[in-house]
């Protein structure tokens, strides 16, 4: 039954990637990548039970932290970069 | 002092739950790292009521139970919108007033708004929160101000 959840999560991740590819604006892509990351955390947690290896949960915690920090970092980065783009386009 | 103690207990519990090995050497490492982190936080001047909000320890759980119920209901409503398609949503932007006194209360309120699907707080200035709502129903639910009152009660 963990296989069902893992499969559903993989489908969700594929759909998030599709949104990241289609997404008309930068923020759509960031949103899709964030969604992809949170689903990765869940997938790792499910894989822990699927494969019976108890140390995957630690990786899931670390991945959750990294994902959050990276999204905030990307947003901060484009907060300043975007202004230059706006200035050039005017 | 109270806050430093709370931080130490929290950090020790975090270490003990995550490690799973209880040998003398690792317990010594635990004490060493907890002491150094608390000292570092003390020098950074973040060991206070804002970092370790002890005052809401007992009022928060009641609120969280109510919030969980709201989140489940809102999730079902938004899921319906997704399956019905584009026609069922009417995005709108509203402004609500946060009547909490402390910054902590405002943060709890804004975070609760975001946690509930259908409403996302996109800006917070002084005590005005700009909220993007997915449809009229979730916007009206927020404008009744029940969540605001409950967060005020947590704060006391």
């Amino acid at each position: 039954m963990f296989a069902v959840a893992a499969l559903a999560l993989l489908v969700v991740m594929a759909m998030a990637l599709l949104r990241a590819y289609l997404g008309p604006t930068l923020y759509d892509r960031v949103l899709a990548v964030n969604n992809f990351g949170t689903k990765t955390v869940l997938l790792i947690a499910v894989m822990d039970f699927l494969s019976g290896r108890p140390d995957f949960l630690d990786i899931a915690i670390v991945y959750a932290l990294i994902n959050f920090i990276s999204i905030i970092a990307v947003l901060r980065f484009f907060e300043y970069a975007d202004k230059k783009v706006a200035e050039h386009s005017e | 002092m109270r806050h430093g103690l709370a931080l130490s207990i929290l950090l020790s519990a975090f270490w003990l739950l995550n490690s799973g090995h209880y040998t003398t050497l690792l317990l010594f490492f635990m004490v060493a790292s907890v002491v150094s982190i608390v000292a570092l936080s003390h020098y950074m001047d973040v060991v206070d009521g804002e970092g370790q909000p002890l005052s809401i320890t007992f009022t928060l759980p009641i609120y969280l139970i109510w919030l969980a119920k709201e989140v489940v209901l809102a999730n079902i409503a938004v899921a319906k919108c997704v399956w019905k398609g584009k026609g069922s949503i009417s995005p709108r932007t509203i402004e609500v007033t946060a009547s909490q006194k402390s910054d902590l209360g405002k943060v709890i309120y804004a975070n609760s708004i975001t946690l509930t699907p259908g409403t996302v707080s996109i800006d917070l200035e002084d005590d005005k929160i700009l909220v993007h709502a997915l449809d009229a129903e979730s916007a009206d639910g927020l404008l009744t101000g029940e969540m605001d009152r409950r967060v005020c009660r947590v704060e006391q």
């Binding site: 969700v12 039970f49 907060e79 | 993007h132």
Partner: protein
């Protein structure tokens, strides 16, 4: 007997969580603009993730796996809301307007000038 009940409950939670995750991903593809898509993403972040993790908790039993799952749950809820708020705020500050705040003026042109289009 007890194990069968636990299995059943955990099945229900896992399937429910998978359903909500799929719904959220569908909304992510289906909704018309960025600010609506945040709502769809928060759908998978809150109930989808919580239900899958609670389903796993029923399987984990009383052990060290349980507090770790609870930690992941608390952290994903906190981080998810903060990330949603940060994205909404950054988008608003960069000049993107929600549908009902767009006055006139062709907003689409600004979007097409983004150099990240594939």
């Amino acid at each position: 007997m007890m194990e069968i009940i636990l299995d059943l409950v955990s099945w229900i939670f896992l399937l429910g969580g998978s359903f909500f995750c799929l719904t959220g991903a569908l909304g992510l593809l289906r909704f018309p603009e960025f600010f609506s898509r945040i709502h769809a993403a928060s759908l998978t972040d809150t109930l989808g993730a919580s239900m899958i993790l609670i389903g796993l908790m029923f399987q984990a039993g009383w052990g060290l796996a349980l507090p770790k799952l609870i930690l992941i749950l608390i952290f994903s809820l906190l981080a998810g809301t903060t990330a949603s708020h940060a994205m909404g705020k950054a988008a608003l500050k960069s000049g993107m307007k929600p549908l009902d705040m767009q006055d006139d003026g062709p907003k689409d042109e600004a979007e097409e000038e983004q150099p990240w289009k594939p």
